[in-house]
């Protein structure tokens, strides 16, 4: 069992957990993910690592409550334990001294881009950070994120915090103003990553994105996380989760994310009257 040591409610649908998982914490690197399972009947879900503390042996996760499992997870408290916690999985981010880098976290993507930003800063890059969300309530970790950056921007779709607009608007401005950007990492909803990658392509700026595909085992066994990269099929779990944003078929990824949409609705419906998350029992 893997104990939840700390819980923070970042917004009503956005939660932070610190999990006691010393073996994972000892080995994990920026860009990797874990797979967890809440209980005996639970599904295995991948979550990208938001932070880790090797000395305390903890992994920090931040998740948005979007489906049955993440809702159930959101109701757990410090002191509760997860049945399964596997990792670190996937390839770590390629951390190098690129020069000037832009690190973009959109929505819950702010969490996984944080340790990558820190690693890029430690590698001696000039780091420009962009944090974006739909509204102020869904923004988090802006101070922590800012502390890793030489320059930092905030934006919201509705203008309730920072600039009004999308992360891609700010990215565009940065590229135009600075002239030279050497590396971009963008993590967030697929449409946001797609727009960022399309934006940097004409400039030839190396741009990586991190995919959170549907997975079962997370070790290369099931192939559910297939993604077309260039003219090849890759597995996000063992070949990724980061890929060259200029080569990823984002449209395919968007459609593949919908595979179990109907079932997800059914699970939520069953949960709300089956003694699950709704509290009606």
């Amino acid at each position: 069992m893997y104990k939840i040591l700390k819980k923070e409610v970042l917004s009503p649908t956005l939660k932070l957990f610190e999990i006691d998982a010393p073996k994972v914490a000892k080995k994990c690197q920026a860009g990797q993910f874990i797979i967890l399972r809440i209980d005996e009947k639970g599904e295995r879900i991948p979550l990208t690592i938001a932070d880790f503390d090797r000395e305390r042996g903890t992994i920090t996760l931040i998740f948005a409550e979007v489906g049955k499992t993440t809702q159930q997870l959101g109701q757990m408290e410090a002191g509760d334990a997860l049945l399964d916690f596997v990792g670190p999985l996937g390839r770590p981010s390629e951390i190098e001294k690129y020069g000037r880098v832009v690190c973009i976290g959109a929505g819950v993507g702010i969490a996984p881009v944080f340790p990558i930003t820190r690693a890029l800063k430690e590698a001696g890059n000039e780091v420009i950070g962009i944090a974006g969300a739909r509204n102020e309530e869904l923004l988090f970790w802006t101070d922590e994120f800012r502390a890793q950056c030489d320059e930092f921007h905030i934006c919201t779709d509705d203008g309730s915090a920072g600039e009004k607009g999308f992360v891609s608007n700010i990215l565009k401005k940065i590229i135009e103003e600075k002239g030279q950007v050497d590396y971009v990492i963008a993590i967030g909803p697929i449409p946001a990553m797609k727009v960022c990658a399309e934006l940097t392509k004409p400039y030839g700026i190396k741009t990586f994105v991190s995919l959170n595909s549907i997975m079962v085992d997370g070790t290369g066994m099931c192939g559910a996380c297939r993604v077309t990269v260039g003219d090849e099929t890759k597995f996000a779990c063992v070949d990724g989760p980061e890929f060259d944003g200029h080569l990823v078929d984002f449209n395919e990824q968007m459609r593949r994310a919908q595979i179990f949409k109907d079932e997800e609705q059914r699970a939520l419906a069953a949960g709300s009257c089956g003694g699950g998350g709704c509290g009606c029992h």
Binding site: E43, V216, D217, T233, E252, I259
Partner: protein
């Protein structure tokens, strides 16, 4: 005993095909005591033991059957267990017709003795009465790490624990058993049986660490250098699905056999939404491939509610690599066999969902390097096959995680670990490997045979 001269093997009692095609309960129900005795009495007890030569782990077959003839069922299972740690599993999933039973003298005039069915009978009887742990040698103080808990790993663990070594199994998934848990369906191999076998290993001191991906938490090198293991066995199986490489394979509704079976077996998606893992199966399902895994997928699809399930295979019925019994069961349950057929493209709608396949018809030409007649496409034979779901069951390659993270471990062109057939030794000292990760996808019993070979080598090494 009095010899039973019947040329016919005692039939295996089975669930009715129409009923079982809608449930996940075991298809074959097992012999009664009377049937087992009657079948055992067909054995001639040949001095030359031809059957035994066909068994990858050399189970003393005539001896265990002789015990059944004497109604000494405890003696029979003890005799099997001298050589086979997983008799309840092997009695169910071994391809006996290509191994022990193939060499049975009775097969010259009629059916061979039902060796697998008898093995299963005594194993099940023992389990129902409570299993006595096997005796182990006194502790040696040596530590053995087993990476992967499929049939190869479980065999190594059993043999090494019996030799007195301190054994830890590392399993990447959340339950041990490997392909016995995620791959082979409940209706062919009940999961409770696999777990009972693993409990028996725990009783003799084998430790099992689940959620432990070697290569991610500890590497093989770290197991040897930091964790104090004296030897490592790698039995990580064939856990990387192959696809055909035709257009449309990433459409929604196309599964690898691994995904389809893992969702259903390991994650119990057939009980969704009671269990959280979903699976989606359309009305018309095509399973590409002709092996046991393909049969498992086809029969699983029926049980998940598909109305029409097709096996699409490019050779003919004679070349199907699946066991005869599995093909027979699939046919009985209503699986349609589209042989000499292969897709060239999977077609989808604007929402990315599968709607069908373009297929070509084939005919058999000259034998190819595998000795089977090579399927040759018939020009202009392309036709459309409407489908909602496609399961690709054309084989699996070795999982790359351990080879990728282990220095000095040689692999071949396909990524399989190179290991000696005689000893299981790899290019790396104190590291052994066996099963599908070495041979490519094969059978449970072959993996167990390879496990036995490696365990013997490990025990030799640790004597020094």
């Amino acid at each position: 005993m009095s010899l039973n001269n019947s040329p016919i093997k005692n039939d295996m009692p089975c669930q009715d095909p129409k009923v079982r095609a809608k449930n996940f309960e075991e298809v074959a129900l097992g012999y009664t005591v009377e049937q087992a005795l009657d079948e055992a009495n067909r054995c001639l007890g040949c001095k030359k033991e031809p059957c035994r030569q066909g068994c990858p782990v050399q189970v003393p077959i005539p001896q265990f059957i002789a015990k059944i003839q004497e109604s000494d069922f405890a003696g029979a299972i003890a005799t099997i267990k001298e050589k086979n740690a997983l008799p309840a599993v092997c009695g169910r999933v071994c391809p006996q017709e290509a191994q022990c039973e193939k060499y049975c003298v009775r097969a010259k005039k009629g059916d061979p003795v039902g060796i697998g069915r008898l093995e299963r009978f005594v194993a099940d009887l023992e389990r129902s009465q409570g299993v006595n742990p096997v005796e182990c040698a006194p502790p040696t103080g040596k530590k053995v790490a087993v990476v992967g808990s499929g049939p190869a790993g479980l065999t190594v663990a059993a043999d090494c624990a019996q030799a007195g070594h301190d054994v830890t199994i590392f399993e990447a998934l959340h339950v041990p058993g490997g392909v016995l848990m995620y791959g082979i369906p409940e209706f062919r191999l009940p999961k409770a049986i696999v777990q009972a076998e693993i409990e028996n290993l725990k009783k003799i001191g084998v430790k099992v660490e689940v959620d432990a991906v070697i290569g991610a938490i500890d590497t093989v090198d770290e197991l040897l250098e930091n964790e104090g293991f004296d030897a490592v066995f790698i039995g990580t199986g064939a856990g990387l699905p192959y696809f055909l490489g035709i257009p449309g394979e990433n459409l929604n509704g196309v599964y690898s056999a691994n995904e389809f079976l893992t969702r259903t077996n390991l994650m119990k998606a057939y009980l969704f939404p009671e269990y959280d893992t979903p699976i989606k199966v359309g009305k018309k399902v095509a399973v590409l491939g002709g092996g046991n895994v393909a049969m498992d997928c086809a029969r699983t699809a029926l049980r998940l509610g598909a109305e029409e399930v097709h096996i699409v295979y490019r050779r003919s019925m004679e070349e199907l690599p699946a066991r005869v019994e599995e093909v027979h069961h699939a046919e009985e349950e209503g699986v349609i066999f589209d042989i000499l057929t292969n897709p060239t493209e999977i077609i989808g709608n604007d929402q990315n969902w599968v709607t069908g396949m373009t297929c070509l018809k084939f005919e058999l030409g000259e034998p190819d390097e595998s000795g089977r007649r090579k399927p040759v496409a018939i020009e202009g034979s392309d036709f459309h096959m409407p489908m909602d779901t496609v399961v690709v069951a054309i084989g699996q390659g070795p999982n790359p995680l351990v080879p990728r993270t282990t220095k000095g471990l040689d692999t071949n062109r396909k990524g399989n670990i190179v290991a000696s057939e005689e000893t299981g030794a790899t290019s790396k000292p104190s590291v052994y490997a066996g099963g599908d990760v070495v041979t490519g996808a094969a059978t449970v019993i072959k993996a167990m045979g390879a496990g036995r070979v490696s365990a013997t080598s490990i025990c030799e090494l640790l004597k020094k």
